[in-house]
């Protein structure tokens, strides 16, 4: 596939720079861990629940060690020591801990070598469950088949029961992927709320119980529909690794998991983000979860023509970080978007060039294509036209994870009818344009080829520049989305700590061993 006559040497060179960029960051951050990574370790050992004040026990445990112990040794060490000396099973220990009858820091620390032995039965149980989830997902894929393009819609009522009603209507209309948007501001909470929730603003709390409820509802529908129905949530923000953990436990299929989104758009500290992200992605790789990256967001802030190359450059960087975490190309939903001002001459040709560029740079990855949002106003009829053009571009360039645009974008969270109209629109386009990809070629050196080659060239120059200065420096200079972030600032930095030479993380060790063998 080379409809754009792209220079393959340039693409290979982009990959080389991106690989170096990611490696430099990972080498740097591997010396550190975070409170959220440690809390994920506890979750994956089987700890859940809250105390009498609704504080998750994993938070209380990590905070206790942070205050009264030495978290730089890793939470694994403390938990193993407490279990060994108290001679309690994990379940009994957690029960006592919940009632504040026992602490983690009251026991002498056991040897590092003993930690794994004590915790092994617990994490093996979890890993067996994750493996089982992975196999189940594969079995569904084999049974029902994988479509070339999945239609993706969001539900966002704030109430998980209502979300399920809406998801059901969307699936019956033809949606393949359901994303439950999180409540406004959840990305900045340094804990994962607990239990079923029915109150949220602009979205629904991501909790393990909510994940489970939606998973069950979709599983039931999948049997009836004889299709894979995929569930998505957001492993981003301050609890990125914990969401990855509960997502893996509840057999989500996809997680939003961008390498830089939190830094740029949520002002989360970059070190915290890269540490959390690497751990999350290892976990995603093990669990067979497809990640979705968030390059589309750059264009909601920056100009979609002038800054198109930042999307391409970021896709290469996201790919490199994902590869470093053993994710396969087939599990990387690289993001981009249809955000060009529709009043510009040839706007659609630019969009085609950009979308096809992503297709050809990442031929094995399921591209995540986002609908227009920036140039959508309250004019619902025009918005519907724009979404039709977007759907045509998605089909013409063989996109795979097709997020549907809502005609009421920027007015309210979608009505059940908005979603239905969006699905019908995409279905009509997909049917009318069924064989378009095989039918069309682009004129040699015409507008589209020239544009795509130009963007690739700019992305290459940018990657070279970033590799030279380092990604941290590039983020400080505001290379992406014109937003500048400092290495020493941003939310969550106080949750980052340097690992002691005796640090141990039984989950991380296990993930690395298994993934290196694959």
């Amino acid at each position: 596939m080379n409809k754009l006559n792209l220079n393959q040497t340039t693409i290979a060179s982009c990959r080389k720079y991106a690989k170096q960029i990611a490696q430099d960051v990972i080498e740097d951050v591997q010396l550190f861990s975070t409170v959220s990574v440690e809390r994920s370790v506890l979750r994956l050992l089987g700890i859940d629940g809250t105390d009498a004040f609704d504080v998750p026990l994993v938070n209380r445990m990590v905070d206790e060690v942070k205050e009264r112990g030495q978290l730089s040794l890793g939470i694994s060490r403390y938990l193993a020591s407490a279990l060994k000396h108290s001679e309690l099973t994990l379940t009994s220990f957690v029960e006592k801990y919940q009632k504040q009858k026992i602490t983690l820091t009251a026991f002498p620390l056991i040897d590092k070598d003993e930690v794994d032995q004590v915790l092994k039965p617990y994490y093996e149980k979890t890993f067996a469950l994750l493996e089982n989830n992975h196999q189940k997902r594969l079995a569904l894929k084999t049974a029902y088949g994988q479509k070339e393009k999945d239609l993706y819609v969001i539900v966002a009522t704030g109430n998980i029961d209502e979300d399920i009603t809406q998801a059901k209507a969307a699936v019956e209309a033809g949606a393949d992927i359901i994303a439950v948007i999180r409540t406004t501001g959840q990305s900045l909470l340094d804990y994962v709320p607990y239990g079923k929730t029915t109150e949220g603003f602009g979205g629904t709390y991501a909790t393990q119980e909510n994940f489970k409820l939606m998973r069950e509802a979709l599983d039931e529908l999948a049997i009836k529909e004889k299709r894979q129905l995929k569930l998505v949530n957001y492993a981003s923000g301050l609890c990125m690794p914990e969401i990855a953990a509960i997502g893996a436990l509840e057999r989500l299929d996809m997680l939003l998991n961008d390498s830089m989104y939190g830094i740029i758009f949520r002002d989360i500290n970059m070190k915290r983000t890269f540490i959390d992200q690497h751990f999350s992605r290892l976990l995603n790789a093990y669990s067979g979860i497809t990640i979705n990256t968030g390059e589309d967001n750059y264009l909601t802030t920056s100009d979609a023509i002038l800054e198109a190359h930042t999307v391409t450059a970021s896709q290469f960087i996201n790919e490199a970080f994902a590869k470093a975490a053993h994710l396969k190309e087939e599990a990387m939903g690289l993001g981009h978007a249809f955000e060009i001002n529709p009043h510009i001459e040839n706007a659609f040709l630019y969009e085609l060039a950009h979308a096809q560029l992503a297709r050809e740079c990442f031929p094995h990855s399921p591209l995540k294509y986002m609908p227009p949002t920036k140039h959508i106003s309250g004019h619902i009829f025009r918005a519907y036209e724009q979404n039709t053009l977007f759907n045509v571009a998605a089909k013409m360039t063989q996109q795979n994870i097709h997020l549907l645009g809502m005609m009421t974008e920027a007015i309210h969270t979608p009505f059940v009818s908005d979603r239905d109209l969006a699905i019908k629109n995409a279905q009509m386009v997909d049917q009318s344009f069924a064989s378009i990809y095989e039918e069309i070629e682009f004129k040699p050196n015409g507008f589209i080829q020239t544009r795509a080659q130009h963007v690739l060239g700019e992305a290459h120059t940018l990657l070279k520049k970033i590799q030279k200065m380092g990604l941290f420096q590039a983020l400080e200079q505001g290379v992406f989305a014109d937003i500048k972030r400092k290495e020493t600032q941003g939310k969550g930095l106080d949750g980052v700590f340097k690992k002691d030479q005796d640090y141990i993380n039984v989950i991380l060790n296990r993930l690395e061993v298994v993934l290196n063998d694959r």
Binding site: F201, A410, D482
Partner: protein, 241 residues
Amino acid sequence: MIVKPYGDTLNDGFVQISFTLPLPLDEKAKAAALQVALQMECVDPQIVHAETIGENFSFFVIYCKAKAAVSLDSLKVIEKPSHRLSQAEIETHLKNHFDRDLVVIGASTGTDAHTVGIDAIMNMKGYDGHFGLERYAGIRALNLGSQIPNETLIQTAREEKADVILVSQTVTQKDVHLKNLIELVELLEIEKLRNQILLIVGGARITHSLAKELGYDAGFGPGTYAEDVATFIVQNLKVDK
């Protein structure tokens, strides 16, 4: 003067409405849809399209005549901030009337993570060919970004000696934005800053009259460009010379 919706003949009153009922699509659902229109005081409602959404919902498109007839003379409206000046006119005005750069601080406040609106008004590149305030000579524009607590916004305004605060509120589900907007006014009053600062709010669901009601100097809704906001600023700030 009396005004009615216009279809293709003056005073025909034609309107189109669409809505969903939480019912499977059958004759009963259609009858219910017609009743909805009738109870909305629509005259001669016609269901021109009905289709099912999933198993338990039905979607309707209805044409009908509205009973409504509005007397324009009886309407009281707050006029929108005046006619838009161009960037050049605004810059000239700033140069002629101020000894210093005006400080404009903007933020999406509270839990709002959406910056499309504030970015369109403030960032260098602006929106749809209209440059943002950052590019204006005579204005120092500071865009604090998203999810800024009111307290932080006020503290920054004090430190930077702000002339103008621009607040953006996009996510408006369950009217969470109203509480947050009112709180900002109250905090500014407690801090004795309210009278020293031009306070402006923008967002998808903001109107000028709503803003006035909430205690703001102006409100801007969809379709606003940087020039609109800047025009209001230069025409409403006390000048130095």
